[in-house]
């Protein structure tokens, strides 16, 4: 008897599968946002949901991000489990006052009487020549607003498992999706429900000499850099943080202590990006195990430029490799 094959899915399909699983299992789960209905979302992550679950549970909303998030808070208090989509992460700016200051604080403000089981999904990232704002990597802004968990999947398997974990989390979760990888390589993503726990970084690639720390699409970039470094005889490990809040300090520190060298890579501008927090944490925890200063590679400290310039602006394999070479000196 043949073993049943595990289906191959890309990130779009993995997210869609997670939403279907949870909407099947829990009638309180609903999806709301811009164009999530008939269109199935601008990237089709919610494709087919409105046909299956109807317009009461899959809701095209008015073009108003603050109300998408604010209403989700109220829906959660009423006992629904909203999965809100913000069409692009950059447009969380319009809802900023409803995310950290409201979702993130509501449990505290109500002394625990109320909590917000709300997931906010949002695609982001450069590399696909998007219009202004559509590429902005602003994840670190939400690490500064305690109460919000920040989840950054880098591959289809994690995307499904982390999204199911997010929807079931009693507290608000910002789930950032790397649009550049939406339809990149498929991988085995099982049918049915499974979860990937928050706060567990995973080694995407083993390596002895240096650790590349990344999340979301930057993991794929680091994998390519590691390939090239291998040719130069440098064995680079790639650590995928998966979630920024909660942060897996333990694995991070153990891994970097092992290699003694570390380069952090992210798509956000360098200054005050989450890479700074990683570097500062390593400073505090494993300073005496470091053979070289921890380095960071990010985008430059300018606004995301016109799409025609994004390849110059974003961290590249070359810039990662160059940083590693310096770290190896």
């Amino acid at each position: 008897m043949a073993v049943p094959e595990v289906p191959q899915r890309n990130i779009v399909e993995a997210i869609n599968s997670a939403l279907v699983e949870e909407m099947e299992a829990d009638p309180r789960v609903m999806v709301l946002g811009l164009d999530v209905g008939k269109l199935g979302g601008v990237f089709r992550t919610t494709s087919g949901l409105v046909d299956r679950y109807g317009p009461e549970r899959v809701v095209d909303t008015p073009l108003a991000e603050a109300s998408i998030v604010g209403a989700s808070l109220g829906l959660a208090i009423a006992g629904m489990v909203p999965v809100a989509e913000i069409q692009f992460l950059g447009f969380t700016a319009q809802a900023f006052h409803q995310i950290g200051p409201q979702l993130g604080k509501y449990r505290q403000r109500s002394r625990g009487r109320y909590h917000c089981q709300v997931t906010i999904r949002a695609p982001f990232g450069g590399g696909i020549k998007s219009p202004e704002f559509h590429s902005d990597a602003v994840e670190a802004q939400f690490v500064q607003t305690p109460g919000i968990k920040v989840v950054m999947p880098s591959n289809p398997y994690d995307a499904k498992g982390l999204l199911l974990e997010a929807i079931r989390d009693p507290d608000p979760v910002l789930f950032c999706e790397p649009d550049r990888l939406y339809r990149a390589a498929r991988m085995e993503v099982p049918d049915g429900a499974y979860t990937v726990p928050f706060g567990k970084a995973v080694l995407a690639r083993e390596g002895q000499h240096v650790t590349l720390v990344a999340w979301s699409a930057a993991v794929e970039l680091c994998m390519r850099a590691a390939e090239q470094l291998a040719q130069e005889g440098v064995s680079a490990a790639v650590l995928d943080l998966r979630t920024l809040v909660p942060l897996d300090t333990e694995t991070l520190c153990a891994q970097v202590a092992k290699t003694g060298r570390c380069v952090i890579v992210h798509e956000a501008p360098l200054s005050a990006g989450f890479g700074a927090e990683i570097s500062a944490t390593l400073m505090e925890e494993v300073f005496f195990d470091l053979d070289a200063p921890v380095a960071r590679v990010g985008a430059f400290d300018v606004p995301f430029p016109a799409a025609s310039l994004e390849d110059y602006y974003l961290p590249s394999v070359d810039r990662v490799v160059a940083a590693v070479r310096r770290a190896m000196e």
């Binding site: 108003a64 603050a66 109300s67 604010g70 109220g74 208090i77 449990r107 002394r111 009693p170 909660p246």
Partner: protein, 348 residues
């Protein structure tokens, strides 16, 4: 300024031919709540002046608005989403006075809204509560409840983007909600005239596809009637209503504020002449249902209640250091848990 729905005139007489849903018995109950609110304000302001109470925004002058709107709700199924100046509305809705009082004393646990009391916490971030209230009303209907939400907002709050987004969404999903806008003419020192060029905030409802009405907010009968109409409409699937309750902030923004810097005394005195409590007393006196004796008795009785609540709140335990970490997450992330234990070990 379009004409306001009104029944009870400042002199205590009733508009010719006007009839309220409010009978004498309910009016007496309303008066009781209004006096309770006024006396509570006076008492805690005095305490604040002695440094024994937190920053407080009184409802003085707005009692008809606050009480008349709350009386239209069924505390067992309906919900209140406050801004912060509707204290006695939430108390009428079942929030124990000592609980909300504890909040002003910086007590944490004791200020927790008890289970079964359908009230959300006060909202300091102006207008942020409106999209939330819309979501709550929408969600309650999705959950099959026949609940109605009463959401409070001020004339100042009406200018925020959240006002627009919250009301527009409510119209689109036909949420069972009443937006109760207390236009007390002030946002701290900012006059209602600066807040908007509109003749009446109630006109905004047409831009969202539902009913809007402006009511004399110092007329508890008119407020109650308008609120009842709106609550019924919401309960019967008729969708949202925007009620502009035109009133006046007779005291000050809060206990740190000094209106003499910006308020025209004439405007202030005219407002006092429209006091929402006195007109009810005049009306009831005319019916032989109110006199010095009854006033004194009720005052003592209500003072008693307020004092009991204050005593309970003062007696409630003060917060402990570890409460800094309480109720942030269902489970503290490891990094924060470590901050907590380091802190409690007297470390940094």
């Amino acid at each position: 300024m379009e004409t306001l729905r009104s029944i009870l005139k400042p002199d205590g007489s009733v508009m010719p031919g006007a009839k309220s849903r409010m009978d004498e018995e309910l009016l007496l109950e309303a008066l009781r709540w209004m006096i309770k609110s006024r006396l509570y304000d006076q008492r805690v302001i005095a305490l604040q002046r002695q440094g024994q109470f937190g920053v407080f925004s009184p409802g003085t002058g707005q009692e008809a608005s606050i009480v008349g709107s709350a009386l239209a709700l069924d505390p067992a199924r309906d919900w209140i989403v406050p801004q912060y100046r509707e204290l006695m509305a939430t108390v009428h809705h079942g929030l124990p006075l000592e609980v909300i009082t504890a909040q002003y004393l910086g007590k944490i646990g004791p200020a927790r809204i008890p289970e079964g009391v359908n009230v959300l916490p006060t909202q300091v971030s102006i207008a942020a509560q409106l999209p939330q209230a819309t979501g709550l009303a929408w969600g309650l209907r999705l959950r099959g409840k026949d609940a109605v939400v009463m959401a409070y907002i001020g004339d100042g709050g009406s200018s925020e983007g959240d006002f627009h987004e919250g009301l527009n969404l409510a119209g689109v999903v036909k949420a069972p909600i009443v937006f109760f806008l207390q236009n007390n003419q002030w946002a701290i020192s900012t006059s209602r005239r600066v807040q908007s060029a509109t003749k009446s905030f109630s006109l905004r409802a047409a831009g969202y596809g539902f009913e809007g009405i402006a009511v004399d907010g110092n007329d508890v009968m008119a407020v109650y009637d308008a609120a009842c109409d709106a609550v019924e409409r919401a309960r019967n699937g008729g969708g949202p209503t925007l009620i502009e309750s035109v009133t006046y902030r007779m005291s000050f923004h809060n206990t740190t504020d000094n209106p003499s810097r910006y308020e025209d005394p004439k405007e202030h005195d005219e407002a006092r002449a429209r006091d929402p409590i006195e007109r009810v007393q005049r009306y009831l006196a005319g019916l032989g249902l109110w006199d010095e004796k009854r006033a004194a008795a009720l005052t003592d009785e209500v003072r008693e209640e307020n004092e009991r609540a204050l005593q309970l709140a003062y007696a409630a335990p003060a917060p402990r250091p570890e409460d800094v970490f309480a109720n942030v997450y269902a489970d503290l992330p490891p990094r924060v848990a470590r901050q907590k234990s380091d802190f409690l070990d007297g470390g940094a």
